[in-house]
Structures are given as C-alpha cells and as structure tokens.
Amino acid sequence: MGLFEAILLSIITASTPLLLAASGELIAERAGVLNLGVEGMMLIGAVCGFAGAWATGSTAIGALCGIVAGVALAALFALAAIGLAINQVAAGLALTILGTGLAGLIGAPLVGENIAAAPHLWLPGLTDLPLIGKLLFGQDAFVYLAIGLMVGIAYVLARTRTGLILRAVGDDPASAHALGYNVAAVRTLAVLFGGGCAGLAGAYLTLAYTPFYAPGMTAGRGWIALALVVFASWRPGRLVAGAALFGAVSILQLHAQAFGLGVPSQLMSALPYLATVVVLVLISRIRRGGSVAPAALGTTFVPER
C-alpha cells in the first residue's frame, strides 16, 4: 500500500463521522432549525452504539442503538425548540450539557470494554486492485452509508417535493404555513433526522474508528460538524468536499509532523475554521440580497391565527 493511498484511506475514516453528523445538521438547518446540540447527540450515540454492540456483538444493532439514542435526544430538542418555541441557541447548548452528562452516566460501566471493529468490505479481486481497490471497495459500511446518505439528501433537496417543502419551511415559514404546510411537523422531522445522523456519527466513533468507549471521546467533532455545514453553504455536494478537506487537514497535519516539518500544529488546526469564515463571507458577498443561509435559520416560528 502506497503512502498516498494510505493517507487517502485515513482521510476517509476521519471525514466519515464529520460527514454523517453534518449531513443531519444540514437537513435540520435547511428546515430553519439551528441545533447546537450535535456534540451532545454524538456522545450519546457513541455510548449507546457501543453498549448495543457490546451487549449483542452486532455492529448493525450497535449502529441502530446509536441512531435511536440520537433521535431520542433530538426529540427533546424538538419539543423544546419547536413545540415550546424556546430559543434554539439556548436549547441546543442545554442539549449538549445534558447529553454529555447522560453519556457519562450510561458509559461508566462500559469503560475498558473491548469489541470487534466494524468489518470492512472485501470483494475478491476488486478490493485487491492497486491504488483504488481499498479506497473504493475496502471501506466499512458506515462510509458507504454516509455517501449514500449524501446522494439521497442531494436528490431529495433538489428534485423532490419533500425537498421543496423543507426549503420553504426553512426560508419562509410564514408563507409555508399560509400555504397549508405544518411547519412544526416538518421541522420536527428534520430535527429528528439530524439527531439520528448525529447518533450514527457518534456510533461510528465507538464501533469503527476506535472500537472502545471512553468519556468525551467525540473531542469536539460535533462542533466541527456545525462549522462544516456553514463551510458547505448548506449544499450537500460541498459538504462532501468540506468533510474531505476538514479530514485532510487533521490527517496531513500529523503526516507533516512525522516527516519532521516544523509547522505549528495549532495553525494547521485553525485553518478549517478560518477557511469557513472566509467562505461564509465570500458566498454571502457574492449573493448579497439573496441569502445563502436558510433565511429563517435559528428563528422560532409560531403561527399567528
């Protein structure tokens, strides 16, 4: 295996949890809901995913547990931020505090336990192909799932009525409501989807990335996912590119060190965030007037009747 190929493989692994979490958040934000609780949902997904796999020995059941846990926490957020019209920023932060605490309590007995890593695809012949074999045909199921999810999201957003309704609710909830759509229901479903994705992303960490559980093991990836959605300017295609870039920076920084290049690691780590700000300014500037962000992002909507 060549170095180049190896680096690409590592980047894919590093990008996958970011992509999974960010794709869910993208849907929620497209519906106009900013859920800052991604980190909390990921953590609870990580611990419940691990617990499921540890108890049953099945990665698939583990992943399912992670999704369910993420959805459950997201439901609490939906109840607060949509059902009760609580400020989304405050509710999201509260969700992260709660999720972190809950994950710690649930995970206490799981520390130091070990499970088998999620299996990787193995297609005789294809996986052995030089250079592209392992990249295309040797990943674990989460990677293919993440990519399938992105394709699905891109299709639904661009080509279907559901996507149209979702965007309408995120851009102009008052008009969508006037047209007879149930804004709260659409937003709730979007938030639950986001929670499921975040839970799955967390489960990826404990089932495939580093198959064990330790408290706080998301290490800020939920926050990076939030940045990623902005970096991608709410476009699924750019999200893939962005996840790859964020993943690449984190991996290449380590390789640069191993090569003995004296680049301050903090500068490398700061680059994605600075790039996000620059991208945000640039796209906002190009499309001044017609906002790139969902117009109603972060605002609560309660229909007047």
């Binding site: 190896a6 590592s10 990335y209 580093t210 064990f212 060190q257 004296g262 690691s265």
Partner: protein, 366 residues
C-alpha cells in the same frame, strides 16, 4: 390565579419542607477516628488511563485499610480557575490527606495548602513543595529504556513511531531514553514523532498511529492515555507498547509490554505515614525498583528478546543499567554535561529539553 401556579407553589413548598427535614436529620455519621482522604483527578475516573490508574490506587487503599479510611474523589477537575476551589472543597470537607494528581494543579495546591496547614497534600509530577505539600512522580523513562531495547530488536524496518502529548520534560526524557536504548541494539534506528497536543483524544491518537505506520513505523509507542493506537497496531499487524495500564485486551497480538503506573505502594505508605503521625514533606521520584512503575508481561516477542527485556528491567532495578549513562550527545553531536558522575543527574532529566543525537526532529516551540 392559574392552576399551574398553585400546583407549582404546592410542589415547591412540599419539596422544600422535605429537603430541610432531610438536611436537619442528616448529619455526618463518620466517626472522628476515620482518616478522610481526598483525590482530585484531571480526567474522568473511567479514562482507562492516567486518572483510572490513580483511582485503582484509591481502591487499593480502601481494600488495605477498610473502615479506618474514607475516600472521596473529584473527577474531571479542569486545570483552570476551578481547580483551587475543588481542592479547597475537599479540605473543607474534612479530608486530612489530599492527592492532587495532575501537574496543572500545582499553584492551586500550594495556595490551598497555605490556608490549611493541618491538611497534608500530595501533588503528582509537580516541583513546588511546602511543609505540608509533598511531590511524587514516576521514573517513566526507565520503562522507556526497556521499550527502546525491545523496539529495536522487534522492528524490521528500523523505524519507531512515537505519539507524544506535550513536549514536557517527562515526555522528552521518555523519547530520549527510548532512542539511547534502541541505538545500542541498532545504531541506525530511526524515530518518528507526532504530537497530538492532548493527553487523551482517542480519534486523534488513532490517526497519529496510522500516519506513523503509513510512514514506515512498525513499532508504535505512545505517551498519551487511550488504547486507540494499540487497537490500530493490532489491526495493522504490527507491534505497540501500552501506556499507563496494561492494554493487552486492546492489542492481544500487538502489545509487547506496557508501562503500568502503579501508585498503590506509594499511596498506601503515605496513608500509613499520616496514621502513624510521621508524615513529612518530601520529593519522591520512584521507578522500577520501588514498583511505582511496572512492566506488563512481555508478550508477542521471541524468547531471546524476552530475556533481554527482563535482564534490562533487572539491571535498571539494581542500578547497574543507567538509562542516561554518559557520554550523551545532543543533536549537534555536542556532549551533554554529565552532572551525576557517570550519568545525567535527576535535575537534568526532570528539566530535559533537548533531543539526543540521532533524532531527526525539532522540539515544538523550542
């Protein structure tokens, strides 16, 4: 008035009444002759690494002394503005012996110690002391000498991958000890170093291990706390060394040995000292000889290497093998001053801020 308000007021009154009643009847039931001991951990007790090992020692104290002690710990105490309060809370709660188990608590420990002169403090890895503050640390570099010896024997490519947390002397001296020992076996051995700027970040540690392996390392060493790198090594079919605790469970085919932090003998002796009334401030730096660090069983290596490792361990314990025996050359090939006679003295090791000859890298921030 609204029904909700009434209900709220009722529930609140009832709960307050219940609480104050409980508070009134619930006075400390501990007997005065019980020694209360407090612990402050920087990580969660379940990190399976640094804090976990300290907590193992706490549990050992409970086992050893039973009813004569009562232990309490505060976990996830950040090294910021909260540390001083956490330590002081323990002192106020009647703990007479407090173990503060992270370097970053140093100034907070000193401040609280001055306020509570009758409480004894034990601060891990620090260097500031008071009449009621002792410091203690492990000679982790001794374990690195054994690991460097094994690594050079096992590595086919002659490249060791080293995952560092922060370039503090404890870590730098570990890297140097590894290199010096490895060079004795293979003069051309190479060491590649990656800093993850964290003691504990499983994902990043895994990525670092992959990067090192992809760049040719076939033995991985780490000075970080999680078992992530061990898992990667196991998966990739190469070898690795555990850190803090025995990680054989995470790398049954990969782990060669592990440096195990064993705080139990020291903690038990300090508790005894307080009970016997002969506790005194001291600076303790113990290694293999006093079993403050121990080596996990030597596994996944040929018998001759096992023997060599065991001999090295015995030699260090007996004092016949000195990890930093002179002459030692720095990266430019200049000989380092030899303050300890035939080896570097403790001060030089504890403040170590240079790489030895043969390490092709630069200490970050230097």
């Amino acid at each position: 008035m609204n029904k909700a308000i009434m209900a709220a007021a009722l529930i609140l009154t009832a709960s307050c009444a219940a609480l104050s009643a409980a508070n009134a009847q619930d006075k400390p039931e501990t007997k005065p002759d019980k020694l209360k001991i407090g612990f402050v951990y920087v990580g969660p007790v379940g990190d399976f690494g640094w804090s976990y090992q300290h907590d193992q020692a706490r549990q050992a104290i409970v086992k050893e002394f039973g009813d004569k002690v009562e232990t309490t710990f505060l976990e996830k105490v950040s090294e910021g503005p909260d540390a001083e309060r956490s330590i002081e809370q323990l002192a106020r709660a009647g703990n007479k012996l407090i173990f503060a188990t992270s370097f970053g608590y140093m100034d907070s420990v000193i401040k609280v110690a001055k306020k509570y002169p009758t409480v004894k403090f034990e601060h891990a890895t620090g260097y500031k002391r008071e009449p009621n503050v002792s410091t203690y640390a492990g000679r982790f570099y001794e374990g690195r000498t054994i690991e460097g010896t094994i690594a050079a024997k096992i590595s086919k490519k002659g490249v060791i991958g080293y995952i560092g947390s922060f370039p503090v002397p404890e870590v730098i001296s570990g890297i140097n000890a590894t290199m010096l020992a490895a060079q004795k076996i293979n003069p051309n051995i190479k060491i590649k170093i990656v800093w993850v700027n964290s003691w504990f970040n499983p994902g990043k540690e895994a990525d670092a291990a992959k990067a090192l392996i992809d760049q040719g390392a076939d033995v991985i060493m780490q000075h970080t706390d999680s078992a992530a790198a061990m898992q990667i090594a196991n998966e990739r079919g190469i070898h690795a060394f555990g850190q803090d605790s025995d990680m054989i469970k995470f790398g049954p085919k990969a782990q060669l040995t592990a440096i195990v932090n064993n705080w139990t003998p020291y903690y038990v002796s300090r508790v005894k000292a307080v009970m016997d009334g002969n506790w005194a401030s001291q600076d303790v730096w113990e290694g293999l000889k006093d079993k403050m660090i121990e080596m996990a069983p030597y596994t996944n290596m040929p018998d001759d290497v096992k023997q060599l490792a065991a001999d090295t361990e015995a030699g260090i314990s007996a004092g016949t093998i000195k990890p930093f025996a002179c002459p030692i050359l720095d990266q430019e090939g200049k000989e380092v001053e030899c303050k300890g006679g035939d080896h570097l003295d403790d001060g030089q090791i504890r403040g170590m801020n240079f790489y030895v000859k043969g390490i092709d890298d630069k200490i970050p921030g230097k």
